[in-house]
Structures are given as C-alpha cells and as structure tokens.
Symmetry: C2
C-alpha cells in the first residue's frame, strides 16, 4: 500500500473530519469516527495531531479559508455587468453564499458549532477571534471590491458596514438552518444589502 506523507495524512484527516462532522454534527466527530472515515487507525491520528483540539483548530482555519474563497469568487463572477451598482454586486455575492449554504448546509452549521465550542474552550478562544477577524476583513474586502468595480465609494470607515455584513450573514445562516426557507432568507439578504448600500455607499450618477 502506498505511503502518504505526513502532511497529506493531516489533510486527509481534516477532510474526513469535515465530512463526518458536517453530516452528523461536531459532537459526532469523535477521533474514532474521523479515522474510520479516513480509513486509518487511531494511532495514525495521534501521530499527526497532538490532540482532538488541534484537529478542531485546523478545521476552523481550513473552512474559513474556503468560505472566503467562495465569497470572493461569487463577487467576481457577479461584477461582469458594467451597468451593475454596488448593490447588485453585493446581492450577487449574497446569493452565491446562499447557494453555497444550500449545497452543503452541514458545513456551515459545523462552522457555527465550532465557533460556539471555541468560545467556551479557553484554548480555542483565540481561534474563534481570529476566525471573526478574518470574516470582518473579508467583508471589508468584499465591500471595497464591489465599490471599485462599480465606481462607487463608501462613506466613512469600512469597519462598520463590514461588521453589519458579517452579522447579517451569520444571522441569516442560523435562521435558514432552522426553517430552510430560502426565499425568505434571500429576501432578507436583498433588503439588507439595499439598506447597507443606501446608508454607506456613495453611488455616482
């Protein structure tokens, strides 16, 4: 059987954990369940990770990176129309995220579960903070890019609307996970985007 390099096995375990926990929840992602999903033995797990917490921390970093990439891609794909305003761009990005959420609800739910877990565990708390700092930065970058592509600009510091955006996406995710009402969530996000642009953007005539 072919040997895997240590880094690859780390990767494989993270991927396996993502599948198991996305499917059945954070609590279901025991070390045993994870290694079973990855087709490895327990020893391999503790050879690569010092502890389950280390896996969890890596998990957060990995998925955050993936989310950010998704959002950016959605925005880029949206800004093709030269007549589009910043609201159109952001709406498209929001829809992109919603599609991502619908396609794999477990992954997003897992992120929420991980965040809540990380806030409780002193060792993991910094990870959660970093996660939300990354979200805020990504939101700011998103706003900036949307403005740049449409010739608009933002009033005042970006931090405030960026935080509103993060709050919105977070809340929309939770709400959608409960009632799975995509139409209502889309309407909420659309309205919120309009509101955001109306307040913070300066759109050239």
């Amino acid at each position: 059987m072919p040997r895997l390099a240590a880094g690859d096995r780390r990767e494989a375990l993270v991927e396996a954990a993502l599948r198991v926990m996305g499917r059945d929840g954070l609590a279901a992602g025991t070390t045993r369940a994870v290694v079973a999903e990855a087709g490895m033995s327990l020893a391999s797990f503790h050879y690569v990770f010092a502890s389950r917490d280390e896996l969890l921390a890596e998990l957060v970093r990995r998925v955050v990176g993936r989310e950010l990439a998704t959002a950016t891609a959605a925005l880029d794909a949206a800004a093709i129309d030269p007549a589009a305003g910043p609201a159109d761009c952001l709406r498209a990005a929001a829809r992109g995220y919603l599609g991502h959420l619908e396609a794999d609800p477990g992954a997003e739910q897992l992120m929420l579960e991980l965040t809540l877990h990380a806030v409780r565990e002193p060792d993991l708390r910094p990870v959660a903070r970093e996660q939300y700092r990354a979200y805020a930065a990504a939101a700011a970058a998103l706003l900036e890019r949307a403005a740049a592509r449409t010739g608009a600009r933002w009033r005042g510091p970006l931090a405030e609307p960026a935080r509103v955006l993060v709050t919105l996406v977070d809340g929309a995710t939770t709400t959608w996970l409960v009632d799975r009402d995509t139409a209502a969530t889309r309407a909420t996000l659309d309205a919120a985007v309009d509101l955001l642009v109306a307040r913070y953007a300066v759109v050239p005539a």
Copy 2:
C-alpha cells in the same frame, strides 16, 4: 426533608440545567451534572423526565418565553418619551437585549447551542422551528407595538422586517459572543434599526 411536588422538581431540574449549561455549555449538561446542581439523585431525574432530550425541549421553551418577556419589557420601558419615533423605540429594545446578553452571555450562547443541536436531532427539530416561529412573532409584535406607540405604521406585511430583525439579533449575538465588543455591536444594531425604519416605516410628520 420537605417533599417537592412533581411539577416543582421538574422546574428545579430545568433551572439547574440552565445554570450548569449556561456556565459550561450544552455538552457539560450531563444528567449527572444537572442532578448534582439540583441536589437530587439520578433516579429523580428519570422519574420526572423520560429522557435527556425531553429536558432539552423543555429548556428551549422555557428560555424562549423568558427572552420574549425581556424584549417586550425593554420596549415598554423605552416608549415613555412621547416625542420618540419608532427608531428610538427599537433602538431602546435592542439596547435592552444587549444588556441582557452582557448580563448573562452563557444563557444566550446556550440558546444558540440548543438551536443548532435541535436542528441536527430529528426529534428536536420541531422544537427549533417553533422557537424561531416564536421569535418571528415576537419581532412582529415588537414592531407593531413600536409603531402604535409613536403613531407610525409599517409598509407592507410585517413578516419581512420581522425576519430581518430576528436575523440581526441572531447574528449580533454570535458576533458579540466571539469578540465581546459591546460598542461595535451596539453601533451595528443602531445602524440596522435606522435602516429598518427607513425602509419599512411610515413616520408621520
């Protein structure tokens, strides 16, 4: 030692569970931890509750009721000033909630944890749905009351702004739990309230 009626012991166990889980998280609320907090034996637990899940379901209902009462009280207390507009009312309600969140973060975090858990468990899923239906209804009532007290009225059906409100509060809670930045969260909520009123309210001159 004085006997407690069955209903009282149910109540006492719920209260104990709330303390334990609010302090250390949903996962820490094992049956043993709960009965220890309540000063009872395991047998008493299973005499009153058929299972841990039954406790969890009751927990959600209990706390939801409490939250709604808090929000309504905050709104009522806020609408004293006759010159206040709907935005002032809602801002006050938001601040009331934020104060409540600061005073007992564990309780709100627990609600989030419970919701996420309920969404995963088929048996508990209806409870989560009902919970968010209650939130939406409460948000609608809040909007209605804010309008009534200030002589304003809302454009279109209340469901849409109500959903935005729920989304907002949910997201703000999560974000605050991570970074504990009260000022930023307050700013976010204030801005969001302004946005909401600007879009959905008809304020008389």
